[in-house]
Amino acid sequence: MEKSIHRKKIAARLMVFLAIAMFTKNASAQHESTPIINSTLIGSVKDSITKQPIGNVVLAIKGTTHAVTSAPDGSFSFRTGQKFPYTLIISFIGYQTKEIVVDGSPITILLAEKASSLNDVVVMGYGSQKKSDVTGSVGSVSKNLLAQPAASFDNMLQGGVSGIGVTQNSGQPGGTATVRIRGGNSISFGNAPLYVIDGFIVYNNNDNANVGSIGTSSNALSTINPSDIESVEVLKDASATAIYGSRGANGVIIITTKKGKKGVNNVNYNAYYGTQTVARKLSLLNGAQWASLINDVNTSDGVSKTYNDAQIAAFGSGSDWQGSALSNAPIFNQELSVSGGDEKSRYLISGNYFNQDGVISNSGYKRYSARINYEKDISEKFKVTANFFGSRSIEHKLPGSAYNSINFSNAYASLILTSPIATIKNADGSYNINNPLNATPTNPLQDIVATINQNTLNRILGNTAAEYKILKDLTLKVTAGVDILNTNQQYYAPSFTASPAGGSTGYATKGYAALGSGNALSWLNENTLTYNHTFGDKHFLNALVGYSTQYENGKSFTTSAQQFPNDLTTFDNLSYAGIANLPNSAARSSSLNSVLARINYSYLHRYNITLSERADGSSKLGKENKWGFFSSIGVSWNVNDEEFFKPLQNIVNSLKIRLSAGQTGNSEIPPYSSLSLLSPTNYYLGGKLVTGISPIQIANPDLKWETTTQYNAGLDLGFLNNRISIAFDAYYKKTTDLLLNVPLPLYTGYASALKNIGSVSNRGIEFSVNSENIKTPAFNWKSTLIFSANRNKVLSLGENVKSFFPVAPTGQVSPVIVQVGLPVGTFWGYDTNGLLKTADLTNGTPLLGGVPQQAGDTKYVDSNQDGIITTADKHSLGSAQPKFTGSLNNTFNYKGIDLSVFFQGSYGNKVFNLLQQSLERPTLTQNASATLLDRWTPQHQDATVARATNSPVPQVTDRLIEDASYLKLKNVSLGYTFKTEWANKIKLKNLRFYVSVQNLFTVTKYTGLDPEVNFYDNDNTKQGIDFGTYPSTRTFLAGLSITL
C-alpha cells in the first residue's frame, strides 16, 4: 500500500511538470533557465552527399532512453531535461551511426551512408541477424518494386530477387501466379514456397479459395493488401530454410508488415487511379475469309461449296467477336494509414480499398482490408505484439466454357472461336441468338454478360506474441496465431446461356445455380528461447531452441440446382428449382509438431557459422514415417576484414564467401494419403440412384517426406566504396524420395499408388548487381540487375519407369511427358518439315501412319527413320522452364523528380499454343486463325499451313511449341515530390504525385496473347500451356501520396 501511494505522488508531480512544460512551450525564450526543461534543440538531418533530407532518423541522448525521430523533411526538435552539452546518437538504417556533442545551437546533421551494408539487420526465420554474419542465401525485394501497384504481392516478386521465378497464370483480376524458388523440386506435389507473414506460417493452399469453382482459380494470397508490406525476404538455400524443416524445401518468403515508429505520428493517404487496355489481340479470319475457308473444307469433303462469291463478298469483315466484350477498364486503389508510437508502444492502423474492373465485361476484383499492428513494452523485459489483419475480396470471374466439347478456362476463348459471319446484336440492340452455327440459340457475348460467377474470400489473420527477457541475454518468446479463410462461391448460368452448368449448359439445364462455401482454419503456436551473448568482445553467439504446433482444417460444401421457372432469383433461392443436384461436402485436418534449434556463432563478425536442426512430425505421412529430421550447416568468411586484404580495399572493399549444405523436406500431400480409402460411386437400380462404395487407394504405411539436399556457394562483393555490390550464388539441389503417384499395372485395379520414388535435380547460378551509377547532390541514378538460370532434370522415376504422360483432358493426347533426363513437364510431339508435295507421295517420303495423307498435308519428320510416322517419332520439343530469367531496374532522382524503369524478361521457355492448334484446325463451325490465309491450295502450294480439311487430327508439333522468350517493360513510373517548404505551406509533411505505366510493351516471338501463361495453373507437369486464358493488360495510372 505504501508503495502505491508513493507512486501516485510521483505521478501527480509528473503531471504538474508536464503541464508547466506545455504552458511554457511558446514562451521558452523567456524561460530558458527553468529548472525543468534544461534544453531545446532544433535541427535537421540530411544525406551527407545528396543533401536530401532524411526522415525517420532516430536521435537519442547517450545514456538515456530519450529519443525522437526526424520528420520526412529531416527536421527534428528535442526538448529534454538534460543540460547542454550532451551527446546525441543519430542512427538510421543504411547509414553510419553518428555521435555528436551538441551545445544547443540549431544544427544540420549530415549522415553518411554506410560504407558497407553488412551492419544491416536481415530478417531470418525465427529472428534476425546482422548481414555480416549471414551464412545463407537470402534476397530482399527492393522498396521500389514493393511500391508498384499490384492486386496481389506475389505479382510484385517477379524479377525482384534472383533465383525466384514468377509467372502470371492469366490476366484475370485476382488471378493466380506460379512462384518457384530455384526451380521445382517435386513432380506431383507442392512446389510453391512457404509464406511466413509476421512470423505466422501461412498454409497457402489455393484449394481453400476454390470451392467447386468454375473458371480460373482464385488466389488466396490476393487477400493480403500489398501496401501493408514493409519488406519481403526470400530465403533460398538450406542454411536459411532448414529451420523450416519439412516445409523449407521450396524456399521461404518472409513478409514483414509495416509497423509504427517511436515518436512519429503520421497519417498517410495513398491513392491511384488508372485505366487498363488489352495488351494484345489475336489475328483471326474475317467474315469473307472464313466463308472461303469453309468452301475449301467442302471441297476436300467432296461436297458442294456452301457459299457463292456474292455471299462471300457480302460477309465482308463480319463480326469482331473477340473485341465485342472488351473495353478499357478502370483500376482504383486507396488507402489510409495512421501510425506512430510513444516511449512504450508502437501502432499502425491501415485500411485499403482496391477495385480492379476487368477488361472483359462482367469480370473484376475488389478488396477491402484493414490491419492493426501493435507493440507494447510492458516493461524493459516484457514486450507484447499483436498483428491483426482482415480482408474481404470479391472476384467476378469469367465463366469457364466448353466450345465444341473443348473445355476452356474462360468464356473469352469461346468468343474467339465464334464465326465472324454470325452477327453479335440484332438491329434493335438485343443479342442475336440465331447463329446458324451455334448448337443452341445462345450468344457467347450474352453468356459473358449474363452469367454470374463470383467468389468472395474473407480472411482474418491474427498473430500475437509475448517476449520476456528472463535474463539479460535470454529471451523467451511465445506466439499464438490463427488464420481463417472463408470462401463463398456463387454461380448462376441463366437458361438462355451456353455457360457451363454441371457438365451441361445453362440452356440445357434451364437455369443452373451453384453455391459453395469453404472454411479453412489454421492455428499456430510457437515457443522459442533465444540466448544472445557476446563472450569477451570477439565471440558472438546466438542460440535458439523451440517447439511449435500447427493445426489446419478445412471444411467445404457445394450444392447446386437446375430447371428454374425463370432467371429472377438466381442462386439466392434454390427452392425455385425443379431438380436438386446431389450436394458435395468435404472435411480434412492435419497437424504438424516440431522441435527446432539453431546456433549462430561468429568470431569477430569475420568467421561465421550457422547450424540448424528441425524435427517435424506430420500427421499426413505413413504411420511408420511420421517424423523427419532436417539439418543444415552454413559458414561464411568476411575476407575483407583480413589483414592481407587491406591492400586490395581500394578496389574491392568488401568480399564475403558463403558455403552451405543441408536438407529440407516437402510433405504437401493431401491428408489421408497414406491410408486405404474408399470412395462413393453411383449406379441406378429401378431407375433410382444408389450408392456404391469401393477402394480408391492402397494403404502405404511407409509414406515419408520428400527430401531436398542442397549445396550452395555464394560470393558477396562490394566495389568503389560499395557503390557497386554483387551477390553471386551457385547451387545444386537433389530431391529424393519423391512423393510420386507411381503407375501400377492396371490389372491390379488401381492406376497408381503414392510412393516415395524417384529423384529430381535443380542446379543453377544466380546473381544480382546493385550499382549507384551516379551519385551527386542533385542527381542520382541507381541500377539493379538480376539474373537467374536454373536447370531442372528428372533423375529417376523408379524401377522400370522411364517416363509417364500426365493425364490429359478427356479424349486428348498428352502434350507433355515426364521423362528421366528431361526437365519435368517437357513438351512431346513431332517435328515437321513444311508440307507434303505431290512428289513426296510417291518418292517414299515417310507418311503419317493410319491417316491417308495428301499433298498439302503436314510433312512430319521421321525422327527414328523407320519409314513411317508413328508416335515413336515424337520427341522432346523443349519445356516451359526458361534457360534464364532476368530483370533490370533503373531509378533516377533529380531534385524532387523520380523516375523508375523496370524491365523483366525470360529466355528459352516454350509455350504450347493449344489455342492456336484449335484455331488452325478448320471445322465447319468455329472461327480460325489468320495464319490459315496462307494455307495450301492447289493454286497456292508454297504455303505455311496445311490444306483445309474437315477437322484434321490435332497433333502436337514443333510449330505449336513456340518460343515464348520475352522482354517486358513491366513498369515505368515518374513521380514528383514537392519540396518540404511547399508541402508545409499546405500543412502537409510530404506530398508526391506520380504517373506510371505497367506492361507498356512486350518483345516476344510468341504469337498468342501473352508468353506468360499457365492454363493449368500451378500443375507442375503442365506448365506453359495456352488454352485461351484471360488476356493480359496494359495499365496507365496516376497517383498521389500524402503524409499529414
Binding site: 469433303d301 509475448a466 511465445v478 491410408l675 441406378y684 462404395i693 487430327v953
Partner: protein, 493 residues
C-alpha cells in the same frame, strides 16, 4: 501480491504448458472419407460394395467415357465394319481404331483394359469380403453371385479382346510392384474361371422387386453362359443354356416394336435380360452416355461423336425394316423453331439408338437415360438359330427363331431352304442389322474365325490397313513396361 500473479514469466509458462498439452496427435482419423478398416461390417456395406461393382460398367474413375456407353464401342464397333471415326474425333488414338492402325501404346485400348480390370477388382473385393459381413446368408450369397456375374462378364470381354490375360482374383494389398507381378493365363484357364463364375451366378433370383431392377439375374447368367459356349463353339452346352432361357419359365419375349428396346420408358422390359443402367434428368448425377452424342446439335455443321463406316451400313436395311429408322436418323424436329432440321453431308445418316428424346431441350446429348443392352432376348433367339444350325442344320426351329426377330422388324421371313452355310451367313447378317451400336459386331466377326474379320474390313477402303493380327488387340504398352512377364500378342511387337 498482484505483482506475483501478473509476473509475465508466469503467463508465458502457463501458455507454454497449456499449448504443450495441446500438442496435436499425429494419427489420422478422417471424418469425411471411409478407411478400409471401417468397412465391410454391415449388410449395408455389403450391398454398397456390390453396387460399386455395377457402377464400373457405366462410369470411369477419371471422368473419361464409361466402359458401356462408349469406351467398349470404340473397340468393338469402331474397329468393325460398322463404324469409322467421325471428323469430331480429335484423338488420333480413336482414329487409329477406326482405320486399323492401332499400336500397343493406343490410349483407348489401354483404357478399356483398365476399366475391365477396375471392375474385376471391385468384384474381387466384394466376393472375398461380403461372406464375412454379419448379414442374412441368402442376401450375402446373392450379392456374391451378382459380383461373380459381373466378373464373368468382364473377363469374357477381356479374353475375347486380348487373348491370354492376367487372371487376378483377389485385391492387391501392397503398393510394391514386385508383389504384383503376374503372368498371362492361358485363354482356356480364363474361360474355366468365367464358366465357374457364371455357373455360380445361375443360382441368382429370376426376378427382383422394382427397387432392385437392373441387378444380374439367373436368366442373365444362363444367357451369358450360352454366349461363352457359343464363342468356344461348344454347341451342345450352348444349346442347353439357350433352352433353359427360352423354355425355363423366365418369360422373356421380344418387344412388339423394335423402337421400345431403346426407350427410357420401356427400360428393363420383357426383352431386356441384362442392361447397363443409365438415367437422365437427375441433375448433376446423370451418367454420361456418350453413345447418345450421335445427336449433338441442330447445327448441321457439327458432326456426331460416331458415324457409320459408310453408306453400305445404312443400305443393309430394306426401307420396310423398322430397325432402320430406329438405328439411324437424318432429320430431327427442333421444338425451339418448330421445324425439322435435315442433316445432309458426307457422314449422314447418324446413329439414333441411344439419343434420349425425353430430354428437353434435346441438344444436351452427353447424357441419356436409355439403358445399354448387354444381352437381350433377340440375341438369345439369334444365338439359338445359330447353335441349332450348327448342330442339326437349318431346321424349322432355327428358322422359327430368326423369323421371330425378322417379323418384329416387319420384314419377310428368311428365304426357306437355305444351306447350313447360307443360313449361318443370314444369321450373322441379321445379327449385324439387329445390333448396330450395341457392341457385338467385332466379336461376331472375330469368333467366326478364318479371314472373316479381315475380309469384312477390307471392304471399307479406309480400313485397308487391317491384317490378321487384328483379331486380338495388343496388350497395352505400359502394362508390359511395368511387368516384363507379360508377353505381347502376335504381330504387335
Amino acid at each position: 501480491m498482484k505483482k506475483t500473479i501478473t509476473h509475465p514469466i508466469i503467463w508465458l509458462l502457463t501458455i507454454i504448458i497449456f499449448t504443450a498439452t495441446a500438442c496435436k496427435k499425429l494419427e489420422e482419423n478422417p471424418s469425411s472419407v471411409i478407411v478400409s478398416s471401417q468397412f465391410f461390417k454391415t449388410q449395408s456395406d455389403a450391398i454398397s460394395s456390390v453396387n460399386a461393382v455395377y457402377s464400373s460398367l457405366n462410369s470411369d474413375p477419371n471422368g473419361d467415357f464409361p466402359l458401356y456407353g462408349r469406351q467398349l464401342n470404340l473397340l468393338v464397333e469402331n474397329a468393325s465394319d460398322n463404324q469409322i471415326f467421325s471428323p469430331s474425333n480429335t484423338n488420333p488414338d480413336v482414329r487409329a481404331l477406326g482405320v486399323s492402325t492401332y499400336i500397343p501404346s493406343n490410349s483407348r485400348i489401354q483404357k478399356v483394359w483398365q476399366q475391365l480390370y477396375f471392375g474385376i477388382n471391385k468384384a474381387n473385393i466384394a466376393i472375398d469380403n461380403v461372406p464375412n459381413v454379419s448379414a442374412d446368408t441368402v442376401l450375402k450369397n446373392r450379392l456374391v453371385r451378382e459380383a461373380k456375374f459381373i466378373r464373368g462378364l468382364l473377363y469374357f470381354n477381356l479374353v475375347r479382346l486380348y487373348g491370354d490375360v492376367p487372371l487376378v482374383l483377389h485385391e492387391p494389398k501392397s503398393v510394391n510392384i514386385e508383389d504384383l507381378l503376374v503372368k498371362r493365363s492361358a485363354t482356356a484357364t480364363v474361360y474355366q474361371q468365367i464358366i465357374a463364375d457364371l455357373t455360380d451366378a445361375t443360382s441368382l433370383p429370376k426376378n427382383y422387386s422394382t427397387a432392385d431392377l437392373g441387378r444380374a439375374t439367373s436368366g442373365a447368367a444362363h444367357s451369358l453362359l450360352a454366349k461363352v459356349y457359343v464363342t468356344q463353339k461348344l454347341w451342345p452346352k450352348a444349346l442347353s443354356e439357350l433352352n433353359t432361357i427360352i423354355n425355363g419359365g423366365y418369360g422373356y419375349a421380344l418387344f412388339p416394336n423394335y423402337k421400345d428396346v431403346f426407350q427410357k420408358a420401356t427400360k428393363n422390359g420383357i426383352e431386356h435380360i441384362f442392361s447397363v443402367q443409365f438415367e437422365s434428368n437427375l441433375g448433376a448425377k446423370n451418367v454420361v452416355q456418350n453413345l447418345s452424342q450421335s445427336f449433338t446439335s441442330f447445327n448441321t455443321g457439327t458432326f456426331p461423336i460416331d458415324v457409320p463406316a459408310n453408306k453400305s451400313v445404312y443400305e443393309l436395311f430394306s426401307p420396310a425394316d423398322t430397325r432402320r429408322e430406329t438405328t439411324f436418323y437424318d432429320s430431327v424436329y427442333n421444338a425451339a423453331t418448330g421445324k425439322y432440321v435435315v442433316f445432309k453431308n458426307a457422314y449422314t445418316p447418324y446413329f439414333n439408338k441411344f439419343v434420349d428424346y425425353t430430354l428437353s431441350p434435346l441438344n444436351t446429348q452427353a447424357q441419356s437415360g436409355v439403358n445399354y443392352p448387354v444381352i437381350r432376348y433377340a440375341d438369345i433367339l439369334l444365338l439359338y438359330a445359330e447353335v441349332v444350325n450348327n448342330i442339326s442344320g437349318p431346321n424349322a426351329e432355327a428358322y422359327n427363331a430368326i423369323n421371330k426377330v425378322r417379323a418384329r422388324a416387319k420384314i419377310a421371313d428368311l428365304t426357306p431352304g437355305l444351306s447350313a452355310d447360307a443360313f449361318r451367313d443370314s444369321v450373322f447378317l441379321e445379327r449385324r442389322k439387329e445390333f448396330i451400336q450395341e457392341g457385338h459386331r467385332w466379336f461376331d466377326l472375330v469368333r467366326q474365325g478364318g479371314n472373316i474379320y479381315v475380309d469384312a474390313l477390307k471392304k471399307i477402303p479406309e480400313k485397308s490397313a487391317v491384317s490378321s493380327k487384328n483379331i486380338l488387340f495388343p496388350i497395352p504398352q505400359t502394362e508390359r513396361e511395368l511387368n516384363t512377364l507379360l508377353t505381347q500378342n502376335p504381330g504387335y511387337n
